[in-house]
């Protein structure tokens, strides 16, 4: 009788040890899976093309290490425009982390009903738009010359996107700033939404000189 009891116990221990071996053999040596990081933006170029031709004026902001700690590099250090000139502003928006580079600008165009670029600049730097831009809560209706509107607006009518805008400079300005802020507003973008809605895709401030 006692032997049977002991046998039972040994069986139990045997089962436990088998369980251990099975569990212990599940080690692996894999790296985390490859992830596609959609719509990461590392490089934004603002292109000011003068009306009636001429060399476009560009300003590029590059985040050399993506999420890393290094500061953003702006090249050139600021935007220098000619006085009393009308420019069309367009963008090149890239993710340079993958090879080849990914054109995020195309994605934004495809999702234009979810995106809007808001602007802020030194007051009266431009004769058109007037004022100091439409950034900030409740300022969305302030004057900006949007030349595009979204194709598939959620509230039924086309709302501005801001990938194409026009700017007419006023007189000379020694030291000003020009800020462009792309907001991603899925399900939020309406005629009333402003720059505090949604989340930020980019928010760049450049020094502005008009001469």
């Amino acid at each position: 009788m006692k032997t049977i009891e002991n046998l039972k116990n040994y069986k139990l221990l045997a089962i436990l040890f088998i369980a251990i071996i099975v569990v212990s053999c599940s080690d692996d040596d894999d790296a985390p899976p490859e992830e596609n990081l959609p719509e990461v933006i590392t490089t934004v170029t603002l292109i000011f093309t003068p009306d009636g031709g001429g060399t476009p004026i560009t300003a590029t902001a590059v985040d050399p290490d993506g999420e890393g700690i290094q500061d953003l590099i702006e090249d050139p250090a600021g935007i220098t425009l000619a006085a009393n000139t009308t420019y069309t502003l367009t963008y090149t928006i890239l993710n340079t982390l993958p090879d080849p580079d990914e054109d995020i600008g195309e994605e934004i165009e495809e999702e234009d009903d979810e995106h809007q670029i808001f602007y802020e600049f030194t007051a009266d730097a431009f004769s058109s738009p007037t004022g100091d831009g439409n950034l900030g809560a409740g300022n969305a209706d302030d004057d900006i010359n949007y030349e595009d509107e979204d194709s598939d607006a959620q509230d039924g009518s086309g709302n501005p996107v801001g990938l194409v805008t026009t700017w007419t400079t006023a007189g000379t300005l020694m030291s000003g700033t020009f800020r462009a802020n792309l907001q991603h507003q899925p399900g939020v973008k309406t005629a009333d939404s402003d720059s505090t809605d949604g989340d930020t895709d980019f928010d760049l401030t450049f020094d502005l000189v008009i001469q």
Partner: protein, 804 residues
């Protein structure tokens, strides 16, 4: 005639006595009282002979003798605190073993589990036990809040749902949390991960304030928390506990059920609980997205066969924890706006819905334990534990419906322990352990992994011994750990990195206990070590509202500028393991109606790992506050004091005070996020029977938490953004907001019992005070919740029939 009658009367009554005196009673009973589950001797049990005024108590080894009994057959009544009373009819003079079953704490019984037998190797360390009644009075509380009533213990939190216990200034992976004897295996990094343990059905929680690395495993630099779920007691009639509770703040409710039974050879239990809480409110506004939903299940089975005990337990916890919406801001600029605002930037109407940001976790724990009680004072124990922790975290972002963190962590534990027989008075435990963890990232997060894939393996062996000499007890312990780490990570550009490193470490402890007539003195010095967690080494980039860079991801370039381009190899870096030396002394004095308890400690930690703000970096999305992990030598000095006094039979007071001084002595600067000084006074009116109730206890607790005057200097975040405050890597530590002001809180509770019911009504933050806690990571964004009234009701059914 009258005299004759009187004589006859006296003779009739006195005769038996006279005869008895002539034939002296020579029977005796000797025996040993043992715990029915563990066969451990039960000391100080009261053994009484029914019908006679004869009784004795068992000695430390559970032995007793009752001499000079007249009858050969006697009925013995054996009782001891924490055990069910035993009535046995005993014949003859034979020496017998008497088995006492541990008692299921009932509603009609006084809870007296406070004097739990301390584990070998921890006797000289100050410890505190929370019993079921204290835990159940607020069933929705977390492990962190439940323990924070203990002096010297508080909690670090991220909102109201994630609360990590802090013991003497240390938290996270410097506190070992053992769930039924198994180290809780979870994503233990950062401030936003608390142990996923449901305490609603916990039977007992023991808090050990000293470095217990030797006994329970390294990492216990600050202390250990032992959570025990429902006990598996033999010889216990079928019982069922049902509890419900509701609370006003967050319209939360909890229901819990527990049932179990034990026969001579079998015992089982099953329990479950469900909690749902909606958005909480601070006194002045709603705390949008602060709800919680939690489901817990547990089962256990024990079989006793002669000297063998075989037990299995399984528990499951499913949590969905909301994190305050306003703490995850869409842009760095909004973050700056938010921390400078008096109210949260985002306040929505109250809702029960939990949306992003949130954390969804499932934790499975399965455990098997085999005990071989091969001798009265010796046993062999084998424990195997398996844990699966699945965690998904959701951020406010473009792909908010896809988790940004999606991890599976498998933890295996095997322990073999030998409680050896006394070797000339030397009692102790010798053990070997194998511990392994396997962490894997699941695909589809659209984000580079913040924690790499890793495998950790650890082989350990330990010995703890004690010897008693009169009123002195001496303890000593030694432990050897060998740990290997294999790391595989992936960068944002999808390239991979690998690292392999290993450690061998020795830890030790020495302890001394002296018992006095009316008190005791305990002293313990213990060492502990831990390696940096993979998150502390490898984290990179966005983590909630900040950027964070691990020890191996961050370097100073030749110009003295920060650089995070490369991943350093562990063995080539100057990263060192953390090593702690904790010296803790406890003085306990019981005098008349008062008890004084003073704990004084020092803890020196070499290579203490902590995170701190380092700079504001500009990104495409705007300026961002960046944190790094750093190492320094830190010193913690402190004291906890508690004075309990019974003024009358019914009225008692409890005065508590906790003081902690801590500093980075390597760089001679402040440490960040350290607990401020706190003090509390509670008044208790315990009226026993009142208005037909069998028990009524009213408790008023007031507490004052001081402003943290040892906090680092403040640099406003705007100054960092504008560049008017110049900070370099060598600058003194700073914070971006002043520590919050001190605050006074009042809590009131009334606990009652009636027949098989017990209930309580409790008010937390009775005065609806607006305050912020320095230890809450969300202090940058919102106030703590306002007044909360909690009503709870428990019913216990206990069948009278014992299945003997």
């Amino acid at each position: 005639m009258k005299r004759l009658l009187l004589f006859a009367f006296l003779a009739f009554f006195c005769l038996p006595n006279l005869i008895a005196q002539e034939q002296p009673c020579t029977n005796s009973i000797s025996g040993k009282v043992l715990d029915a589950n563990t066969n451990v001797p039960v000391p100080y049990a009261v053994v009484k002979v029914d019908g006679l005024e004869k009784y004795t108590t068992t000695n430390e080894d559970g032995d007793f003798v009752i001499n000079a009994l007249c009858s050969k057959t006697n009925t013995l009544l054996i009782s001891s605190i924490g055990y069910a009373n035993l009535t046995v009819v005993h014949e003859g003079n034979s020496q017998t073993k008497f088995l006492l079953s541990q008692e299921v704490t009932g509603l009609d019984e006084v809870t007296l589990q406070g004097e739990r037998l301390k584990d070998v190797g921890t006797e000289s360390i100050s410890q505190v036990v929370l019993d079921q009644e204290e835990i159940k009075s607020i069933p929705t509380q977390s492990l962190g809040t439940a323990l924070s009533s203990v002096q010297g213990v508080t909690f670090a939190s991220v909102g109201n749902n994630i609360q990590l216990p802090i013991i003497h200034g240390l938290s996270g992976n410097r506190i070992l949390v053992l769930n039924n004897g198994i180290k809780h295996g979870f994503q233990n990094w950062g401030e936003e991960h608390a142990p996923e343990i449901d305490i609603t059905n916990a039977n007992r929680i023991t808090l050990i304030k000293g470095a217990t690395g030797v006994r329970y495993g390294s990492e216990a630099l600050g202390g250990a928390i032992l959570v025990e779920s429902t006990a598996l007691n033999l010889n216990t009639p079928f019982y069922t506990n049902v509890g419900v509770s509701g609370e006003t703040n967050g319209e939360g409710f909890n229901t819990n059920l527990e049932l179990g039974s034990g026969s001579e050879n079998w015992s089982y239990y099953a329990n479950g609980s469900f909690t749902s809480i909606g958005d909480r409110t601070a006194p002045d506004y709603n705390l949008t997205n602060s709800g919680r939903e939690e489901t817990a299940l547990g089962v256990g089975l024990l079989h006793k066969n002669k000297n063998w005990n075989v037990g299995v337990r399984y528990s499951y916890l499913d949590q969905n924890l909301a994190i305050l919406r306003t703490s995850f801001l869409a842009s760095p600029e909004a973050f700056i706006r938010s921390i400078n605002a008096d109210e949260p930037v985002i306040i929505e109407p109250l809702s029960r819905e939990i949306t992003d940001p949130n954390q969804e976790t499932q934790h499975h724990l399965a455990k098997a334990e085999v005990e071989w009680l091969y001798a009265d004072d010796a046993k062999l124990t084998f424990i195997a534990g398996f844990q699966l922790n699945k965690r998904q975290e959701f951020d406010v972002r473009r792909n908010a419906d896809v988790p940004i963190v999606d991890l599976d962590l498998i933890t295996n534990d095997y322990q073999l322990e030998w409680k050896h027989p006394s070797w000339g008075g030397l009692k102790g435990l010798i053990g070997v352990q194998y511990f392994s963890q396997n962490n894997d990232n699941n695909p589809g997060t659209f984000s580079s992994p913040i924690v790499p894939n890793y495998n950790i393996e650890r082989f350990s062996s330990f010995i703890v011994e004690k010897i008693e000499k009169g009123r002195n007890t001496f303890e000593a312990g030694l432990r050897l750990d060998f740990e290997s780490n294999s790391i595989r990570g992936r960068e944002p550009d999808n390239s991979t990195f690998r690292d392999d490193f290993s450690f061998t470490n020795v830890t030790g402890s020495l302890g001394y206990v002296r018992e006095f007539e009316n008190g005791s003195f305990r002293s313990n010095i213990g060492t502990a070590w831990r390696t940096a967690n993979p998150f502390e080494l490898f984290s990179f980039g966005q983590n909630r509202w900040r950027l964070i860079f691990g020890l191996l991801r961050f370097a100073e370039d030749e110009n003295g500028d920060p650089n995070t381009d490369n991943v350093a190899l562990f063995d080539e870096s100057d990263v060192q393991s953390e090593r702690g030396y904790k010296f803790i002394n406890e003085f306990k004095i019981n005098k008349n109606d008062s008890q004084h308890l003073l704990t004084v400690y020092s803890n020196y930690i070499e290579n203490y790992i902590f995170d701190r703000p380092i700079t504001v970096t500009t990104t495409v999305r705007g300026p961002s506050l960046a944190f790094i992990y750093d190492q320094a030598d830190a010193l913690f000095l402190g004291a906890d004091y508690n004075w309990r006094n019974n003024w009358t039979k019914n009225i008692s007071t409890d005065l508590g005070f906790s003081y902690l001084w801590s500093r980075n002595i390597g760089d001679d600067e402040a440490l960040i996020n350290q607990p401020p000084i706190s003090t509390s006074l509670s008044v208790q009116w315990d009226q026993g029977n009142l208005l037909g109730l069998s028990s009524s206890i009213v408790r008023l607790r007031s507490s004052y938490t001081f402003e943290q005057f040892q906090a680092p200097r403040t640099i406003p975040i705007e100054d960092l953004v504008e560049g008017s405050a110049e900070v370099t890597l060598d600058s003194e530590i700073f914070d971006v907001l002043d520590p919050p002001a001190g605050y006074f809180l009042l809590d009131l509770s009334w606990n009652v019992k009636w027949k098989n019911f017990s209930g309580s009504i409790a008010a937390q933050n009775l005065l609806n005070t607006s305050y912020r806690s320095y230890l809450n990571d969300l202090r940058y964004f919102a106030d703590e919740p306002g007044r909360n009234i909690i009503l709870s009701l428990n019913y216990q059914f206990k069948s009278r029939k014992n299945n003997e």
